[in-house]
């Protein structure tokens, strides 16, 4: 670390830390939905990245409508886009559960293959609908620019917005799962399906809504994603392996673990990548995660659920 003054090092750590923070947000936004689907239902949704991409494309469409058709709405389109992105992916997720996943419970490895196939099909649909090129949303003026913290540190506003969305979404998922009646039903179904059924919970309906909700969260994640990067047909699938590692590393059924592992992986990757090449930083981070997982297969925060 020679050659840097203390002040510069602090600035580097802050800036890299912040870029790590936006990576953390992408990981966490994707992992939230996955953690619900995989952690609670045991379904491996390899098409999760495509749900994120769908959310991003919906946001792109809304922004396109706002900028070209009703220009005066440009400043306000974003909340609308989030709602549409959520609804679109929620509905698709509902249908996927109804016609595909439902038949594959208790066969997790088969859900993996089937959803991978679904992901391929969705990718191709995106490619033929929106073209292979990446699309960027039209950003409203208030999102441009950056916040100048010190002389050496400046933080882009869109990054801050994504951090905000991530925090809100995480808290919402927490409340939904641990403080609502519906959350109780979900957890009851996970812990003992037969008993939950006997207690009058419609477990099929719970499964369907849980899956759809996980997909809806991916849609919102996609909407947030558009503010920091452009969207292409394979955008979501780039992150899917990493995100699964995040979820498993955190302990499948533990939301807190997911947050912690997303933070750890994103930050170490981002800070290491300043001192090493980007690819080596990623290799070292992932290797560490894999080795820790071999030593501690249940992940960082294993929940004490009997299976």
């Amino acid at each position: 670390m020679g050659g840097y003054t203390g002040e510069e090092l602090t600035a580097i750590f802050l800036m890299q830390g912040f870029s790590g923070l936006s990576l953390f947000c992408v990981f966490l936004l994707m992992a939230l939905g996955l953690a619900i689907i995989f952690g609670q239902m045991g379904v491996i949704n390899m098409a999760h990245g495509e749900f994120l991409t769908l959310g991003a494309y919906i946001t792109y469409l809304v922004s396109y409508a706002a900028s070209d058709v009703w220009p005066f709405l440009l400043d306000y389109y974003f909340p609308v886009a989030i709602v549409f992105a959520f609804l679109g992916t929620f509905i698709l997720g509902y249908l996927v559960e109804r016609y595909l996943i439902r038949f594959l419970y208790n066969r997790p490895l088969d859900t993996l293959l089937a959803t991978w196939g679904l992901g391929l099909i969705l990718q191709q649909i995106f490619r033929s609908t929106f073209g292979p090129r990446e699309k960027s949303v039209v950003m409203p003026d208030w999102l441009m620019g950056s916040y100048q913290a010190t002389d050496m540190v400046d933080i882009p506003l869109n990054g801050l917005l994504v951090v905000g969305i991530t925090i809100v979404l995480t808290i919402a998922v927490f409340i939904l799962l641990y403080r609502s009646r519906w959350g109780i039903k979900v957890r009851a179904t996970t812990q003992n399906r037969v008993m939950a059924n006997a207690a009058g919970i419609n477990t099929e309906r719970v499964d369907r809504l849980t899956f759809a909700l996980g997909c809806g969260i991916a849609g919102v994640a996609g909407a947030a994603f558009t503010t920091i990067a452009s969207t292409g047909p394979t955008t979501g699938s780039l992150y899917i392996v990493d995100t699964f590692l995040v979820v498993v590393f955190g302990g499948a059924a533990s939301l807190l673990g997911t947050v912690a592992s997303a933070f750890g992986i994103a930050q170490s990757q981002s800070i290491l990548s300043f001192f090493l090449s980007g690819s080596m930083a990623k290799v070292i981070t992932l290797m560490t995660v894999v080795i820790i997982l071999m030593l501690r297969p249940q992940g960082l925060f294993a929940s004490k659920v009997r299976r």
């Binding site: 208790n106 066969r107 293959l113 089937a114 196939g117 191709q124 699964f244 071999m294 030593l295």
Partner: protein, 401 residues
């Protein structure tokens, strides 16, 4: 009925099936295909090694590895490193600033051959390493995971992560590995030009024979005492463990066997295609290899070989004329195989071929009596029984997850 040597390979029926596939590969394909097509077919056959390995480890062992590309790549890269060193003799590379090292190393300002390239100067050592490197790698992964009882989904995700780490590493370390282009421009094997038509024929036959040997070895493993244990473990892991067996060792062995098969396939791939690149190592390639196995039938070694061949044939012919359609077809294949025919083509064949075979059997009475003798090994079911039996094993494999 006396137990014959055939029973060690799954009985006469399986041997006849292997004979049929041998005739198809070694006689029919070379007769109907020109050199270009034959080379393509040879490429498909190299994937059959991987698919057969997956049948052992996924179909019979119950452990889905999404990282078979790693082993395919390791085998392929070992072979490619030998061929590359041969192609970069000091005379051939005299124009480089450091003659005698591969061209991509020179472009990346390397001045000496890295230490791990040194063993690949010798052909016998290369052949040994093609088997040993993946076997060692698989042993380490398997030991670390299975001794700690990591299985099922977690194993799949971790192997997938390792495959993606491997790709990033190969692409990132351009000077040592050739980066994203891989190791290219491979022309001779011990002074023998591998690009001539004749060489392509020889390589195709070598690959075909090796594949048949692998299938036989797989059948032998499955019908040995170890194979019975393997199936028992997949269906009732705890019961086998409580009977005093170390379940982890059984899994490690089958994982290593599958890795070695994939690596042999990879080595033949490099020889026939003339290059090796990271795109055959990563997660996408690895999961495509799983679909070859699933389409052929995850419980049939022979089916997996057909599956690998047919899926790749379909891929080539579809993506030649409709490049976009192939992706959708592939996706649909994933879904269909899981939802509609989980036992793959082999399952479909045994469903529909059974009546025909029964008719033949009744035409030759003597055969029927022999086939319905009391000593029927579980590995060699009668045609009519096979469907029911495979159904049971699929169902129980699913329960155990």
């Amino acid at each position: 009925m006396k137990a014959s040597w055939m029973d060690k390979f799954g009985g006469r029926g399986k041997l006849i099936q292997i004979l049929i596939i041998a005739v198809l590969i070694l006689v029919v394909l070379p007769l109907v295909a020109d050199t270009f097509r034959l080379n393509l077919y040879g490429k498909y056959l190299t994937y059959a090694f991987v698919a057969a390995g997956l049948v052992l480890c996924w179909g019979y062992g119950g452990i889905l590895s999404l990282g078979q590309g790693i082993f395919f790549g390791l085998g392929g890269y070992c072979m490619a490193m030998f061929l590359k060193l041969e192609a970069s003799s000091p005379e051939n590379t005299a124009i480089q600033s450091t003659p005698g090292i591969p061209d991509f190393m020179d472009w990346n300002q390397l001045t000496a051959l890295p230490w791990f390239w040194e063993p690949f100067r010798s052909f016998p050592l290369t052949l040994l390493l093609i088997v040993l490197v993946p076997a060692f790698f698989a042993f380490v992964i398997g030991y670390a995971m299975f001794k700690r009882r990591v299985g099922g989904v977690y194993f799949a995700i971790i192997t997938q992560a390792i495959a993606s780490i491997m790709t990033i590493l190969i692409i990132g370390q351009q000077g040592y590995t050739g980066g994203i282009n891989g190791i290219t421009d491979l022309r001779t094997l011990m002074g023998w030009n591998i690009q001539t038509d004749f060489a392509q024929y020889v390589l195709f036959f070598a690959c075909g024979i090796a594949l048949i040997l692998c299938l036989l070895a797989g059948q032998f493993i499955l019908n040995s005492r170890y194979g019975q244990l393997l199936i028992a473990m997949r269906d009732q892991e705890d019961r086998v463990r409580f009977s005093g067996y170390d379940v982890a060792n059984i899994k490690i062995f089958v994982f290593v066997a599958a890795a070695v098969m994939s690596a042999i396939g990879g080595a033949f791939f490099t020889l026939q295609v003339g290059f090796m690149s990271p795109s055959f190592v990563g997660t996408v390639a690895s999961i495509e290899m799983v679909i070859f196995c699933a389409v052929g039938g995850r419980l049939s070694l022979i089916g997996a070989a057909y599956g690998a061949f047919l899926v790749n044939l379909a891929k080539s012919s579809l993506s030649e004329s409709f490049p976009q359609l192939w992706v959708v077809a592939m996706g649909a294949l994933f879904i269909a195989v899981v939802m509609l025919f989980p036992r793959g083509l082999a399952g479909l064949v045994s469903d529909y071929a059974a009546p025909v075979r029964n008719w033949f059997a009744s035409a030759f009475k003597r055969e029927t009596i022999a086939a319905s003798g009391p000593e029927i090994k579980p590995g060699a079911p009668k045609p009519a029984e096979s469907k029911a039996r495979e159904d049971v094993s699929i169902a129980s494999a699913q329960e155990s997850h």
